[in-house]
Amino acid sequence: MITNPGPASTASATEVTSPRRPWRTFRHPLPIRIMHWVNAAVILIMLGSGFQIFNAHPALYWGERSDPDRALFEMKAIKTEVGQLRGVTIVLGRAFETTGILGASRNSAGELKARGFPLWVILPSGQWLAMGRRWHFFFAWLFVLNGVVFAVYSVMTKHFSKDLMPRWREFLVSGRALIRRVMGQTLERPTIEKYSPVQKLFYFGVVFVCGPLVVFTGLAMSPWLDAAFPWLPSFFGGHQSARTIHFLTASAMAVFTAIHLFMVVATGFARNLHSMISGWYYVSKVNRYYGKD
């Protein structure tokens, strides 16, 4: 999960004590690597099948009901006067043309069809709600199981308290470092062993905030569980609110995944990939002495 913060990120709180960097460093123990790759596959499946399910009614609301005239978000297709199909996305009453991506997109034959999310992000890659639900509700168990094992493991091994829990002090320290850097007083370098405070914030947020939120809003959408635990949908503001929060949280996780992938590539794709497969992060010659004062 770690990515090299790179020279562009702000300095870490950890002071560099050793004048020389080791040429390789052990980053990811086996259980973390397994859970990372399980999670990677499960998240992609959950996003794809989730978009598939969403396409059956591509609109969001607040409260218990889905009153058609009160959608907060909506993707739809409209026909122009000359009979052309246009994809339109309406966000809080403002309409945007999104032909080709949202509302209307091309099928494998190249024809524009009315469809919320395009075929290339939905699983399976055709309109098939029943199959999307099958995938979603099977892999939801794996998602929860993997997440719970990760939470327990990281608390027990102190991965959570040492590496993931963001602390105010770090933001203060890195804030000060940033100011010092801007003032030209000192040039502090990031370290490769620790997450930067920004990374911590992102990882903590996606694992310990988005994770539980997406699970509980998912459970809140079940009519059966609504009967068993009426406080669950009420807590989120109603059935349709829970659906909206579920969608927004999943979208946030998709954005996180995109940023994560970008950072993996931007900070040395091969080394990062290698470290999540073997556990060892190899420091290049340039980087080996990078932390030297």
Partner: protein, 254 residues
Amino acid sequence: MEKIDRRRFLVRLVNALSAVSVSGCDALSQSERFVQLLETAEGVNRRTHRAITPSRAMAREYDESEISAVFPTNGTTFPDDPVYRELAANGFVDWRLQVGGLVRRPESLSLAEIRQLPARTQITRHDCVEGWSAIAKWTGVPLSVLLDRVQPLPEARYVVFRCADPMNKTSFKYYESIDFEDALHPQTILAYELNDQPLPIQNGAPIRLRVERQLGYKSAKYIMRIELVDDLTPIGSGRGGYWEDQGYEWYAGI
């Protein structure tokens, strides 16, 4: 130059990976074995839900002010069936609900007779499998009242609802089934009124089922016959309902 190569390599890698995963997932969706594996989650979900829920847990009931302005119509809106259309033209005075199968005393009830039975009114939320929700007031006879009259035999396990609407994708008409956990639940009713008015045709006249703790497709419309059975496999394609035969879950509590 090196940068361009790297970029090209990454783009190709992403394209290849997504092509492999998309076609892989599509192939898996067609594989009988894999789909059977996915379907195991349905049983796990049903058993888990039932284990943590008291069997009398009630679906939330709402205030009159929360009723949807318009209750959406979905699926069949006017069954394309000559017998049904004739009954509808007559205001359903000739319609009779047949209750039979594994029961001691099969019955045949007219709409007027059903309206004489003890009634329950509930304002509940209808969640469609598609994702929309609407709130409405339903009045009808609890299914448990009807089952008491016909006296199910001990081997009866499911209550099957046979409907009037022919469906495009099969030669069968719409049907649904529930087990006794839902059949005996106080909110499971055969509704003949929607928002204090006789049930409109587009919402399932003369009677429709309400199964409030499951998705909308369980709440069958245009009911003609109720059958108690011990096995669902001989009916339709054998999965317990029209939508179930199309791959949807029989347990629609999610």
